[in-house]
């Protein structure tokens, strides 16, 4: 494509609206005011429209398309809050029936359309990807030429450029023009403008760096999105759960068996119902309110040289009270207090009783650890009790067979076999009985011996989430850059004031990318202290001509 040479001598890329150097309009525009968006530079998207790549580029470089993507994302996101997402329905509920049962036909439709997992659906991901692409292309399309134009701009702008600025005025035969311009220079310096001079003309500029704000925040957003994407790669993200009983230790998943956690104590603290301060609120709540969930934990590490599976050589690393809002962290891992179970059965204590009165069985007392029962209990006086079967969580299954749901002793049943001293456990069968909470049944006829439960021990169990998220640093950096860009672009404004002496004619023009109010105030400051007049706001003039200055103010000069 041909380059365009302006009369000032600067060579502009093809498609430039306003000469990058002097600002002379190179392409005629109808409106009275110059389109100052991106300084009238040639943007790739506006110039090349031939190839397939051009077309894709042009599509995503449009702010309008970008806004549409934002709006589509906004609308679809809102749909997902109509009913709870699958992860928030009550645990144990089956999504296939839950939505219909709970929310009727609409719920069924919601489920069938996949809205119960909307935010991880492929099409939601696609919208976010489109947003990311739009961010990259929109930014690149603008930032490069804009940077060049702002760098190339010269002090003496073409008069046609100045005339078409929103704030403009000219004074013929201005008196004390030289004096005023010297004074203006120092006044503007006072207002922290950067002054450049050329042939007696002034360009005062301030806050140009705010023009890069949007691009900086877009870079931050892209880094953020990339960080979010990395989660789907293995090793980047770990989300596991572990239950630890009081007094016990469990291996911490994801650490290759290197770290263990011991639960020293789990406790729940409630707010004192007698506390006057909280009484009305507690009454309204209608029940106790929890003050603290806390696991007093010790982090343990397998000593070097120890083999996997051997828990003997564990060294204490640190103690920490894990609470909500206060996880235990080490080497990028965090352990969070998320769940608990109070009073889980841990052991039963039994004695043996006999039908015959003269048998002394007082020595026989034994404890069965419900998480790790022994097979055989032998006693000095020759008695021997075996555990034939153990069902930690007993049920009768569909085949009418006794079985266990899992290894958690929520409903333990034990089948004992009792051998008195005279019996030979190898040859004979002992008396069988099924024992559990409030259950004690003989299984093979009348029993001479009865196993009696005398004590029950319970423990509290804490539920912890193990989390490792290597994407966090990237996401944090992205968020941080995003915030910097946002502040940079929002709290500073790019302002420029041109003052030119055209052979005794004073030409004045101003441009702000936002905050015209602030720019006008600066002009006011000038006009108060010099004979330089206030410039006229040409956008107000023009729109008032159109329709009394109200309904639509076509303001083509923004940014």
């Amino acid at each position: 494509m041909e380059k365009v040479k302006c009369e000032c001598g600067h060579v502009n890329p093809y498609g430039t609206y306003l000469c990058e150097s002097c600002g002379k309009p190179l392409i005629e525009e109808k409106s009275k005011l110059a389109n100052m968006r991106y300084e009238g530079v040639a943007r790739r998207s506006q110039t090349y429209t031939r190839t397939f790549v051009d077309k894709i580029w042009n599509f995503f470089s449009s702010v309008k398309v970008g806004i549409w993507i934002i709006v589509v994302l906004l609308l679809t996101s809102s749909l997902g809050t109509l009913f709870p997402q699958e992860m928030y329905i009550p645990p144990g509920e089956n999504a296939t029936i839950y939505y219909e049962q709970e929310y009727g036909t609409l719920g069924k439709l919601y489920y069938q359309l996949g809205f119960h997992n909307l935010y991880s659906s492929w099409w939601y991901m696609l919208i976010i990807a489109a947003l990311g692409i739009s961010l990259v292309i929109c930014s690149l399309d603008r930032v490069v030429p804009l940077h060049r134009a702002l760098k190339t701009q010269r002090v003496t702008r073409h008069e046609a450029f100045l005339k078409r600025q929103r704030l403009f005025s000219q004074t013929d035969n201005a008196e004390n023009i030289d004096e005023d311009m010297i004074k203006a220079e120092s006044l503007l310096k006072e207002k922290r403008y950067k002054i450049r001079k050329e042939n007696g003309n002034i360009l005062a500029e301030k806050g140009r760096f705010s023009r890069w704000g949007p691009y900086v925040n877009h870079i931050g957003l892209i880094i953020f999105l990339i960080g979010g994407m990395l989660r789907f790669f293995p090793e980047m993200y770990l989300d596991e759960h572990v239950w630890v009983r009081e007094g016990e230790q469990e291996v911490i998943g994801g650490t290759n068996g290197e770290y263990f956690l011991r639960n020293n104590e789990f406790m729940i603290e409630l707010y004192d119902e007698e506390d006057e301060k909280y009484q009305p609120a507690l009454e309204r709540a209608g029940g106790p309110v929890v003050k603290t969930y806390q696991t007093s934990a010790t982090l343990l590490r397998r000593e070097a040289g120890g083999t996997i599976g051997s828990e003997t050589e564990l060294a204490e690393v640190k103690d920490h009270d894990i609470r909500v809002n206060d996880p235990l962290t080490f080497e990028g891992f965090s352990l969070y207090q998320v769940d608990y179970k109070l009073n889980e059965l841990s052991s039963f204590t039994f004695t043996l009783e006999s039908e015959e009165e003269n048998t002394d069985l007082t020595d026989i007392q034994f404890e069965v650890d419900l998480n790790d029962p022994e097979d055989v209990y032998e006693f000095d006086n020759g008695y021997r009790i075996e555990i034939l079967e153990y069902f930690p969580n007993f049920v009768i299954d569909d085949n009418r067979e006794p079985t266990t749901i899992n290894r958690i002793p929520d409903n333990p049943r034990i089948i004992f076999e009792v051998f008195p001293p005279e019996a030979d456990p190898e040859e004979e069968q002992g008396e069988l009985s099924l024992v559990g909470i409030q259950v004690n049944e003989p299984l093979n006829g009348e029993n001479d011996y009865t196993i009696r439960m005398t004590d029950v021990d319970m423990v509290n169990v804490t539920g912890l989430t193990i989390r490792k998220d290597r994407t966090l640093p990237i996401i944090s950096v992205g968020g941080f850059i995003f915030m910097i860009g946002l502040v940079q672009g929002s709290y500073w404004h790019h302002r420029r004031i041109w003052i030119q002496n055209r052979n005794g004619r004073l030409v004045l023009a101003g441009h702000a990318n936002k905050n015209w109010h602030g720019l006008k105030k600066d002009f006011k400051y000038l006009s108060d202290q010099t004979t330089i007049p206030m410039p006229v706001d040409q956008s107000e003039e023009s729109s008032e001509e159109e329709n009394e200055g109200v309904n639509e103010s076509h303001d083509p000069t923004q940014r």
């Binding site: 994302l73 935010y119 709290y491 107000e540 639509e552």
Partner: protein, 394 residues
């Protein structure tokens, strides 16, 4: 201490009324003259001073309550909504010196009053903090968010001012209906406050025994006369009357009853206004704001949003994510409140990008400011009270 803090909030409320009156005087009563015969209307200055005093009073409420309860008082609906009113008052105090626009004062003060009064309708007792809320991030996250929303709300007020200034109320149009609907919403909110306050002062309470969703017998209390009754409800208190209609068990009948009362009372009030004024309410306000420069108001609303947006983003998304990572093990979990904060963010982001295009300044932009504020209120009220989620603390 709690009593002192409550009194300060009352004081702030009355100071806001005074400030609104003074701003009204500054606009309508510009005929005052000093002894030299020059026009000299200081009401605007007094209005602003009163607004500062009102803000100081509300800040005292905030600080004393903080001391009394022992945590930043932004933990439930009353505290948060009151904080939103205070933040809006603060945003006005900051923005007014830049633009010195008394009209903005006239429009902002009543909105602040309305928000503070609405806040007071929620239970105000000191609440014990549940473990998830016991963190310094409660202070950091919520206060930053509320400041951002307060500033964004200025955008709404300026947008509304713009619309009332420029819309032609002589013809019936969608725009007129839109503005009238906004005004109706404000009137209905006022009606709700009036009703709750009135019946509350009279200690009205009607109790029903009813059959709940699970098919069990339960009781429900009404603080407004029951028009809408619960499922198979039976009046068991002395006060009360038999309801006109009965709703199925899955609807919270007492809440629906309150909504119905507010809608009806709002309609009644609004109807009366129309009857007295004999034109759209916005059309009746318009002559008072005829001297407003639309372009200035447009820029004011834009500036408010440009200033508020980064603060809201910082508080409502970034600090929120940091806290969520600490308290809920993940920085983002698609909880309804999180999603609606994201939607609010996206909406204002779209607004800021639209400001780059031609034809989106002025009126269209004013409508967007109104919708943005509606989103904020939706996320505050509807998402907390109706859509259950992790953030339902009220």
């Amino acid at each position: 201490m709690i009593q002192l803090s409550a009194n300060m909030l009352y004081a702030a409320f009355f100071l806001y009324i005074l400030s609104a009156v003074l701003f009204a005087v500054s606009i309508t009563g510009s005929k005052f003259k000093n002894h030299k015969g020059e026009e000299n209307n200081k009401a605007g200055l007094f209005g602003y001073t009163t607004a500062i005093l009102a803000f100081a009073a509300s800040l005292t409420y905030f600080v004393t309550r903080w001391i009394a309860v022992g945590y930043a008082p932004v933990s439930n609906m009353f505290e948060y909504t009151a904080a939103l009113g205070i933040a809006l008052g603060l945003a006005f105090v900051i923005i007014h010196p830049i633009y010195r626009n008394n009209y903005l004062g006239l429009f902002t003060m009543p909105v602040v009053m309305l928000i503070i009064a609405y806040a007071s309708m929620f239970p105000r007792e000191v609440q014990p903090l549940i473990p998830a809320l016991q963190s310094h991030w409660l202070t950091i996250h919520v206060i930053t968010t509320v400041l951002g929303q307060g500033i964004l709300a200025i955008g709404f007020v300026a947008g509304l001012l713009y619309l009332i200034r420029v819309i032609d109320f002589k013809k019936t149009s969608k725009k007129v209906k839109g503005v009238e609907f906004i005004i109706y919403t404000l009137v209905a909110t006022a009606a709700y406050i009036g009703l709750s306050f009135g019946f509350g002062a009279a200690d009205y309470e009607a109790n029903f025994a009813y059959i709940n969703e699970q098919g069990n017998e339960a009781e429900v209390a009404y603080f407004l006369p029951p028009l809408i009754g619960p499922n198979e409800g039976e009046l068991i208190s002395e006060q009360g009357m038999s309801p006109l209609v009965e709703v199925p068990a899955f609807i919270r009948s007492n809440d629906l009853n309150t909504v119905v009362w507010s809608v009806l009372a709002g309609l009644l009030l609004y109807g009366l206004l129309r009857l007295v004024l004999r034109k759209p309410v916005g059309g009746a306000i318009q002559p008072f704001v005829k001297n407003v420069n639309p372009q200035t108001v447009d820029e004011m609303s834009y500036r408010a949003i440009a200033i508020g947006f980064p603060i809201f983003t910082l508080g409502g998304l970034i600090f929120a994510m940091i806290w969520a990572q600490i308290a809920w093990t993940r920085f983002w979990g698609w909880d309804p409140k999180e999603v609606w904060a994201l939607i609010t963010f996206l909406f204002y982001a779209a607004y800021l990008h639209l400001r780059l295009s031609r034809g989106w300044h002025g009126e269209k932009s004013a409508w967007l400011c109104v919708i943005g504020f509606a989103l904020i209120m939706f996320n505050l009220i509807f998402v907390n009270l109706v859509i259950a989620g992790l953030h339902s603390y009220a």
